[in-house]
Subunit: 211 residues, 4 copies
């Protein structure tokens, strides 16, 4: 189920927990600028022990990213699984996603910093698709099927809502506010209603255009 390259040795659960403490380090400094020494210090795991469980520094990061992606996938899938119309489920997923960004901010940012980096051990693009995009497409399609959503292009719609949530989520990380709920509502309003004054059916665009 994990996206990560399998660790050579099974990581004791105690270590896995303490390792999570290193996520902020990697997020703040990036892979290269994060010193293994610092990871050891902040987690309390001796350097040599880290190398006993991981072949190298990058594998520690890969483990963290994979864990985060797995977490994210689980939480979003759970939110998507709650019964309801497509629209209701979409809203739940988006709120859950925003909450996840808020609680895993550092790692989430890191995920996007590493996204598109060629040499990454973790295929982040695939992980993001699995954890976020696929569930989004599923609920969007459900909305199309049950008539609760107006979606012409599921893929494009998934991009928009993902982008909206990602960007507003990062914004909140950089400039935290206590009006989080308001912001979330405002984002969702735009997503559901769009910016145009009138809805324009594509096939009837010519006619409407003149008015």
């Amino acid at each position: 189920m994990s996206v990560s390259a399998a660790a050579v040795r099974t990581l004791p659960s105690g270590l896995a927990e303490r390792l999570a403490l290193a996520a902020d380090l990697f997020a703040e400094h990036g892979l290269e600028a994060t010193r293994v020494d610092e990871v050891a210090r902040i987690t309390g795991i001796p350097r040599a022990t880290l190398y006993y469980y991981f072949p190298g520094k990058e594998h520690i990061l890969a483990h963290l990213l994979s864990s985060t992606l797995d977490d994210m996938a689980e939480r979003i899938e759970t939110a998507a699984a709650v019964p309801g119309t497509g629209r209701e489920r979409l809203e739940r997923v988006l709120r859950e996603h925003l909450a996840f960004i808020a609680s895993h901010g550092a790692t989430y940012r890191l995920l996007f910093a590493e996204l598109g980096r060629a040499a990454s051990l973790v295929d982040i693009a695939r992980g993001v698709d699995r954890a976020i995009r696929a569930p989004l497409r599923a609920v969007l399609q459900a909305g199309v099927d049950d008539g609760s959503l107006h979606v012409l292009d599921v893929h494009a719609a998934a991009s928009v809502v993902h982008g909206a949530v990602l960007v507003s989520g990062l914004e909140q990380l950089l400039a935290p506010s206590d009006r989080t709920t308001d912001r979330t509502d405002a984002i969702l309003q735009v997503v559901f209603e769009g910016l145009g004054k009138e809805r324009v059916d594509r096939r009837a665009a010519e006619d409407d255009h003149g008015h």
Copy 2:
């Protein structure tokens, strides 16, 4: 006008051009993992000469990021300045933004990798706001004012459209396609029309419903 820490010495235009070749390096590896040696090799500028013009490696990156932000600001402002309704100008800005991402992919990704990193020499958040968000807000507001756009919360709307464009732009970088125009159109459709079946005015949902 530049966001960057000023280079200690005036950079000969020849060097500035060759330096742009290093953007991909920084984008692919990040600041720390990019070797000054590599920058020297790819630009053809001797290492010591780089240090003659820049106080340190990070200043080279800062220069590149600032240049890109300046470029982006100029192009988007130009697009926004073309006369028309707010809606028309918004569409132009979004298309221009997507084109910019496509042509400056590596640096753009880098911008977001560095975004939120504390120690950056360049205040990227501010630069992004200046280059992208402010113009977006301006045309959104113009659309509100001239009645061509349905926007309740300009700030939230800017987030959504920025996110939509950013995410779809990155997607195209990672999985290039020749249906770029189609994708762009699909994105804009969602942005303008929203996902909801019916538009619901918050305050007067009941009333509006009847119309």
Copy 3:
């Protein structure tokens, strides 16, 4: 009888055999460059078990070297013990010595690599003297006593024949040939006949010259 530092615990014979497999490793890489891990892998003895029987890595090597020296001593002494003239016994010893080098090539080389190294646990110089030089000197002296050998300086003669055998033995290791027997014969011919056109007795050169 062993030259080695005694192993702290009695080594089960099973282990002793498997340990011999490590000789090549030490021979190829030397003491420092040979990893205990590799020794464990090639012998099938767990690392920690090696440390149960030996106080440290160098003691494993010492054990191997001592074993080899003991083997060599035994075989050469046996060859020397076969009745005959000094010359006959010398020839037998030399052939046995060459055979030993051929069959213990790696360890033999190692012996000379370690020879003269200060910190060795095994006094290799002494072991080599015991296993090789002393028997050589004994048969040379026997040849002097029974008149079957022409030897003015037993010590020097031992050096020459040792050198001849050592060098030609190593040569065969590095460039194996199926003309081994021929080579051996040729070496012995030089050893027994010398290179000079005429034999010149030092003390009675004039007299001998006439014969």
Copy 4:
């Protein structure tokens, strides 16, 4: 002319001289156990400077070995070039060789420790052949041609004299004595006169055998 892998950068002559001081270190400890730190300390060359001129530690050793082989080749060739009978030239070469061992003891031992090691950067076997064996064979052949030496198999004879000199040379290193000249003479006596009571022509061996 050098056997070594070419140094990436031309080594300043000043450094080359100071580097020679490291030969003893390598000789005493071997490649692995010699710390680059120690090489830096003993030569006065900063560690990073060593790495500026050599790609790695082993290349420093390779340089030293190659230099020594080059030196040895030059000195032995010079000795062999002095006019005279083959026998006279051989004797000169052997004395020169012994002198060389005495003056370059550490490196010489190292040469034989590395001999036959697979991964060496320097092809020591070839270097030894070039520096020692080839000149030996040449003077031996000259002795055959001018009738001054009794040699049936030049190759075998070269092995014997090489072995004799090598072994006695190493002996003197390990147990220095002021009777060096005497020892040298004794060695040469054995080499020239052989150990056998009577010279035995190979073709007439059968007859003599019975006696």
